[in-house]
Symmetry: C2
Subunit: 319 residues, 2 copies
């Protein structure tokens, strides 16, 4: 039996740049430019866009314009606009902003939770019921975004039992979806397979996603492993820009998986995804140019069938 027998027909691609990417930059991207970029991303065919984070402006100053961004973007039919909410106060702002969905953050690592949210994990989980109730009262979907589901920069490897305990807790709170995040980009395909399998075994039919970072270069292999066990939603960021705000030291390598690289793999494999590859490639070039990022993905560097053949053709004209 091969991999191909268990691939999903269609997966959902979630664009994280406006939250995971912009939060990682030192510079504040002007609201006008954020809106332009999000509106362009809305035209690429991605199913969801995480537009910002309703966190305290002092905690993540680069996303202090979250409410304004939510107000000014053009909502395109068929695209789910979601935002990160770290607590009930954030959920209240999300209601005001009329997003379609929230990414309710909980991190499995106790140490990371204290540093990132200044609370215990128990306190964060205890608030989840109220977040879900408030969201559902307003027709907003809730995804529990589980940071440090595999590795923590402070605690190292996370015990799978801890990850499953948090899945159990958020499912009890009534969330609609659960996403395991490789916050450190250090997970491998066996860990991906085992943790998702454990979650599906405990909660058959649970709607699960994978939030991808690529520190170790295994994120597309992890995508493959996840699809093979039934995961059909993947968070990525154009140009691979992204990373947690409390990552220590020079963690510039902890980027997200580039959306254009993820989409290229899905496209070439024949897995449905709804994205127009040419448009996401163009969006990546545009974002790279605007933010001066350079060639931070394989697609940006010309690593596509068309890119390679174009290079060949240009070379042969010179010969």
């Amino acid at each position: 039996m091969s991999l191909l027998d268990s691939l999903p027909e269609r997966v959902h691609v979630v664009e994280m740049l406006p939250r995971d990417g912009f939060q990682r930059l030192d510079e504040f991207v002007p609201t006008d430019e954020k809106v332009e970029i999000i509106d362009a991303l809305s035209e690429t065919g991605v199913d969801e866009i995480e537009i910002s984070s309703f966190t305290h402006p002092k905690a993540v100053p680069t996303l202090r314009d979250a409410d304004e961004v939510a107000k000014r973007i053009t909502r395109r039919d068929g695209v789910t606009y979601r935002a990160l909410v770290p607590n009930l106060r954030g959920m209240e702002r999300a209601v005001e902003a009329e997003v379609d969905k929230v990414n309710a953050l909980v991190t499995v690592s106790e140490t990371y939770t204290r540093k990132n949210q200044n609370r215990t994990r128990e306190e964060v989980l205890a608030e989840m019921d109220d977040i879900v109730d408030l969201a559902h009262d307003h027709g907003i979907e809730v995804e529990a975004g589980m940071g440090t589901s595999f590795y923590c920069p402070y605690e190292g490897a996370i015990d799978p039992a801890e990850t499953l305990a948090v899945v159990d807790s958020v499912v009890d709170s009534g969330v609609d979806e659960v996403t395991l995040a490789t916050t450190m980009g250090l997970a491998n395909p066996v860990e991906i397979t085992e943790r998702f399998t454990a979650a599906f075994d405990a909660h058959p039919g649970l709607d699960m996603g994978l939030h991808l970072h690529d520190t170790n270069g295994m994120s597309l292999a992890n995508t493959l492993a996840a699809m093979a066990v039934g995961v059909d939603r993947f968070d990525a960021s154009v140009c691979g820009l992204g990373g947690g705000v409390v990552l220590p030291g020079d963690m510039s390598g902890v980027g997200n998986t580039p959306t254009e690289d993820l989409v290229q793999m899905l496209e070439r494999m024949g897995v449905g995804h709804g994205v127009d590859f040419g448009r996401i490639e163009a969006a990546a070039h545009d974002v790279s140019d605007r933010l001066g990022l350079g060639l931070t993905s394989h697609v940006l560097a010309g690593g596509t069938v068309e890119g390679v053949l174009d290079t060949v053709a240009a070379d042969q004209e010179v010969d």
Copy 2:
């Protein structure tokens, strides 16, 4: 059923730097330095090393010292020393050099074959019987290394029927192993699965390997897909240095998969490989320093669990 049910217990890692890497450089690496690097690689635990290419010195001047390299390296027990041979003349030199194994090159693409070997594919395949006979007369194993098994820089996508036809031909010639090469680094996990499955179906029990390039970033996903259908030998190059000598234009992105990234994935997944990860990591840093390559792999850039935790610890001391 998940991926994990079909993973091999143990795979073979083949180090390609001395051939695929050194041929790609503009500068000639002095023979002394080549010998030092190969001897260091012999201590890492890799099963095989492709030490050079017995091609015409004018065709690949950077490997013109192949005979000398073969003579001067220290042969370590348990390591298979192999060399590329593009034709019968190369095979004769390989016999003189007393290598353990040869990588008998054939490229599926007719256009690439003409440019690279200045012959038709039929001519190359016709010579394979004599190469195998000569090799076996001297107790030398023969692997058919099938370049452009998926994509060609001149012809684009290669018809799977063409790839299978070449497999059939080299098996008829009596080769011991067959390796499909993603020369352009553009293959995806579905193509990997399908072409190996077709070859195994036609030749049950055939010993097959995958030669990895990473232009599209899918090479570790391809490794996973290949392992899932029974491939247990993988060609990689420390620092990812490598690429065909007749690749056109600025194809600097067509690197091999870095051995250290491949080994890290196998190690973290618990797939046996025989390599000492610390030693291959050190070898990669050494080669990168000697050749001034920079941080060309995820491992070199610190993308390991230990690398990340070390960065954190250093940062916390500063706090």
